[in-house]
Symmetry: C2
Subunit: 683 residues, 2 copies
């Protein structure tokens, strides 16, 4: 391993000075070797550290003292190797931050700068000599996969600009590398192979920077399951955060998630072409009915629309393939008898791209042999003249190599499967939408709310009850059920008369989280006698079951019908901070896990997207005799929670509104709620 | 197109007689041409028909009359082209069936017999000359995709034995080709690219034959969505059946479903290796922690177990990599410092394969260069000595070509991604399980039940009410709620006293399907007075709302708590016949679509598998204070429905039990039910 980085630099003809340091040698690979850093004729820009673990920390410290600007630590045996390694790695991070020297690693494969042909890694650097650099930046926490995935990208004719393996991230994180790539003129799109985000806010900022610059990020997360996360942790010492929270971040920030690391570079190549669909309308033209149907299947599954063509388009297509009756001119458009006619194929493509309902085109063609090459030549020309994405799917294998090459030369993304072309289109549409939402959403000014939330939380005190939680939420814009506190049987009857029969009684205590379990709930009390009797009886039962609980009386609440129980709230993720959540509630929360989340503050469309994400979304549209919920009511509620999350940051770690029920007039009302305060140890 | 089949036959040096028929030519491609079929010196074995659409039917008829055994109709313009084409195609099918001549097509790409080097197709036949035939049979309803997918399989070093494009299937169906391949000694596994199954029973039989012969079938279904199905229908004229029913068939019969047509041959190559996991225990060894974690993620998602290694295995692994403490020897096993040592890698693989908890091994290795080739050589040898699947994932691209080639030569399946290796393993495990279930499940003897069901259905009459449905189901082993029919207010009180208060009243009428909508339901009636008052009041309201409905009285039923509503039943699929279904009921049926189905008769494990398939399965295990449901109760209920489905075939087209609720003692009771009789127009 120690000799490979040097061999790599020599193989690519690196022109700068290289100073091997090794006290045992006079000469290494034809270069003069030096006994120590001090002995060098100048301070190097960068140190590549490939030493036994025990010697690494001293070397890093030496570099920092000498004013070296950056170090790459290839050596392993740190956080992934146990408590001692964790300590050494922490120290390495401290040295970096104190001196300002950037440290990449430890346990890093290094970096490959294809733009300037600088390999700083022990992996093979042969791909650097394959041709000019590509336009895709690659950040990976897994060294082993970085090199093999980059090799496959080059095989597929998709080049890399810069690849960085951040390893254990004692100092340099993926977020910082992404920030760099966002500003890098040699990079058009990025690929991220992620195990764990260590610096949530900076990661969010890097995603935003990429959005601003119009550079899509394509990501794959390793360690989604418990078994996978444990496996990932053992080799870089990183603990995976919640995958659901990460996906919420991806969705809001338009990060395109690959289903397999294999697919990362195909998606990135499509992204790097720089054409993004501005709407969901997809046209499909195809030489194979089966391929067209597969594309249509995937489009429908993604929520894209296989739109009907306009009359003008139908006319043009019919002119191209006159044997079709106009009835046969549909989307997907099957070339049928015109198969293999490259001119007709590209004219049909031009016709559908001119259709205003069409935002993108997936074109399936065999691409075989010389006719395939000719077809690719037409398509490459057409792609250069349209602002809409044109994604050719070349169905053939080795027989279609020439067609593929023509398109690659023209920087038109090429797909091997209709399904993947559509997935890429869907990813880019999400990116474009996230970009628009970012541009349209100035950070909310929560300063006034912040002051009010501080006061309100002080009033609530350190142990908020259910009643406190709902009073508090009512003050920040959340609708809550009508209810009153009674401290005697007589008072409970007066309260019941205020809200109207039938009512529910619930014990009120800061110490009791599960009221039903201690007999602290009575439902359907129909008159004064029932309420009066229930009050004393309930409190006696609760006192017997929970003798040490502080009991403040009982809540008397109106009884709303609960045909549909929803949930909403704020959850603080340890990495990414507050997230707003919304979904199906009650017993079904856990059964079907039908909950959508987004980081606070929400952006334009976030609430609509969250709603669309729920499998049970149609239940809110008035199905099955349920009261329909106004989308505006969802939007208002989630906006209130989002503002609250931002304004209460550091004070409130969680809010649960469960159940939340729809009312007859389309609003959403909280029947029960809980607050989790930072001081009380969190959620 | 017309000349290509001939050119193909000549290109591969076909040794048999070829007789071009064309009245306008004396000679074609160096062969003597004949004016008509009658003019040939002998009756050919097979006729390849490449004529204008209008001339096809006469040619097919002529072949049948002359005693030709088989015809392939390349020409299009039949069912896919409109009503006239449909009629011509029907006639073609009749000719075939009357004469016994097999007709493949119309609108077929033809067939490629790689075993005997006989190309009968207008597609390119070049792959036939690439080397010996492969061991995978390929049936496709899409001609365009058949040729390009086969080309890619050859590129990947995975050969085909025989490929058949069945086109519009006037006569020869995919089921018949699969039956042939099941018996074909040159074929070890099959690939199916399916648009629509035309002959359900024969398809089921073909799947069974493949199971018996131990040949896995890997399938991709085109036209899953409405848009995709419409697209598929326009080009072969086939209407897609229900995708959910097809998936139920796939699951019961162990058919491995590919997520993308691209993946078909990788899966089939794994299947053709002939080693199937006998349990869910997976071992992962890896040179890259990231790759190991990805494999573990996918295994967990599939329900495979990344099992802990036994003490003996841990000891052997620790001996191999002594620098690890025993704590670091876990599954996935990361080679760590031993990366690149082919001997240690294969010894570690041998050690974990010896572990009795391990049913299969996924081994991730870079495979780069000469060390990669060496590693592949070791692994190929090891794979030959173990009955357990050993699936190497070669992480590198072109740098790993030599390693890949060594494994291919040894017929060890090679994967490009850890995720796909695990998906293949999961598919083969399901195949092995379906095979065991087939072997263990003799067809139930339903003859006695058949006679009883006939009598019971006669008694029920042509318009069964809810009451009739439950009485009937009670006679065939389904538990139903206690209820009685009342025909007056007095009688309703007597019934209520039998079942015990509180009770529910429901109007009883064969004409009213939605009782609530006409005011025909009263719940929670607590005493005689309430029941008496409700009876007359309810019937008056129903008569006003549905004046023409025949009203037979009211059902008086005990009021069971319904914390969890389930659904069970029988649904008759037009292609595959009766399916048994089970899932989450009530309003949630449609919201979350959490329903599992299997064709009747159920096989061993089907009910357990159906239960496992439900997202809400854990709700039946006693979660959240719900009564736990005994798996035996589910098994008993589904078995009863399965027997009923078989015994009532042709009489009963559907049974809905909804809601079905769990009782305190772990049983499942039908609260409501409906029967759909064949005579009444079905479900």
């Amino acid at each position: 391993v120690a000799g490979r980085p040097l061999a790599n630099l020599q193989q690519v003809g690196y022109a700068g000075a290289i100073y091997p340091i090794n006290p045992q040698r006079e000469e290494i690979a034809g270069l003069r070797a030096y006994p120590s850093l001090d002995a060098l004729p100048e301070t190097p820009d960068l140190a590549l550290i490939v030493l036994p673990q025990t010697a690494v920390l001293a070397a890093v410290e030496g570099c920092a003292e000498a004013g070296v600007r950056a170090a790459i630590v290839i050596s392993a045996g740190f956080a992934e190797a146990g408590p001692e390694g964790v300590r050494a790695q922490q120290r390495m991070g401290e040295v970096a931050r104190a001196s300002g020297m950037i440290v990449c690693g430890p346990n890093s494969l290094g970096l490959l700068n294809y733009v300037d042909r600088v390999p700083l890694s022990f992996t093979t650097a042969g791909d650097m000599l394959r041709g000019p650099a590509g336009r895709i930046g690659f950040v990976s926490q897994s060294g082993g996969l970085m090199t093999t995935i980059a090799n496959r990208a080059w095989d597929a004719g998709i080049g890399v600009s810069r690849a960085v393996a951040t390893g254990n991230e004692a100092d340099l994180t993926v977020a910082e590398v992404l920030e760099y790539l966002a500003n890098d003129p040699a990079t058009d799109a990025c690929v991220l192979l992620l195990e764990a985000v260590r610096d949530g806010p900076r990661f969010l900022a890097a995603c935003d920077r990429l959005l601003e610059r119009g550079k899509p990020l394509v990501a794959y997360k390793i360690g989604r399951s418990a078994a996978g996360a444990a496996a990932a942790a053992t080799h870089t010492g990183a603990l995976a955060g919640s995958y659901a929270a990460l996906q919420a971040v991806f969705r809001q920030r338009g990060v395109i998630e690959a289903q397999d690391p294999e697919d990362l570079f195909d998606l990135a190549a499509a992204a790097a072409a720089g054409r993004f669909p501005t709407g969901p309308g997809v046209a499909i033209t195809t030489s194979s009915g089966g391929a067209g149907a597969i594309a249509a299947d995937q489009a429908e599954e993604c929520g894209l629309h296989v739109v009907p063509f306009g009359a003008a388009t139908v006319g043009r297509l019919q002119e191209l393939v006159p044997s079709y009756g106009s009835g046969a001119v549909v989307n997907p458009f099957d070339l049928g008898v015109a198969i293999g006619d490259a001119a007709i194929e590209s004219q049909a493509a031009a016709a559908v791209l001119d259709d205003s309902a069409v935002d993108a085109l997936v074109l399936c063609t065999p691409g075989v042999g010389e006719p395939g090459r000719e077809s690719a030549t037409y398509l490459a020309e057409l792609a250069g003249t349209t602002p809409k994405p044109l994604f050719p799917v070349i169905l053939g294998g080795s027989h279609s190599a020439a067609a593929r090459e023509v398109l690659r030369q023209a920087r038109v993304p090429v797909f091997a499967s209709p399904r993947k072309a559509v997935l890429a289109l869907d990813g880019l549409r999400r990116f474009a939408r996230a970009r628009a939402a970012q541009a349209g959403a100035p950070a909310p000014n929560v300063a006034p709310l912040e002051a009010r939330v501080r006061r309100l939380l002080e009033a609530v005190g350190p142990r908020p009850t259910e009643y406190d939680a709902k009073r508090f939420l009512a003050q920040v814009g959340v609708l809550v059920v009508e209810e009153y506190v009674a401290q005697s049987a007589d008072e409970s009857v007066r309260c019941a008369e205020l809200v109207g029969y039938p009512v529910a009684l619930k014990v009120l205590s800061p110490d009791i989280a599960h009221k039903t379990e201690v007999g602290g709930v009575r439902l359907g009390l129909a008159d004064a006698a029932a309420v009066r009797a229930a009050y004393d009886e309930m409190l006696a039962q609760v006192r017997a079951a929970a003798p040490r609980a502080e009991i403040q009386g009982a809540l008397v609440a109106g009884l709303l019908p609960t045909p549909l129980e929803l949930i909403a709230g704020i959850h603080t993720d340890p990495t990414f901070g507050p997230l707003v959540l919304f979904g199906v509630g009650g017993i079904w929360v856990e059964a079907v896990r039908d909950v959508a989340m987004r980081p606070a503050p929400l952006r334009a469309d976030d609430s609509a997207e969250m709603l669309a994400e729920l499998r049970g979304a149609w239940l809110l549209q008035g199905a099955r005799g349920l009261p329909p919920v106004a989308p505006e009511a969802v939007e208002r509620l989630l906006r209130s929670l989002s503002d609250l999350a931002v304004a209460s940051a550091g004070r409130l770690t969680g809010v649960d509104v469960n159940p939340l029920v729809p009312t007859a007039d389309g609003e959403l009302v909280a029947l029960d709620a809980a607050l989790y305060l930072a001081e009380s140890g969190g959620q």
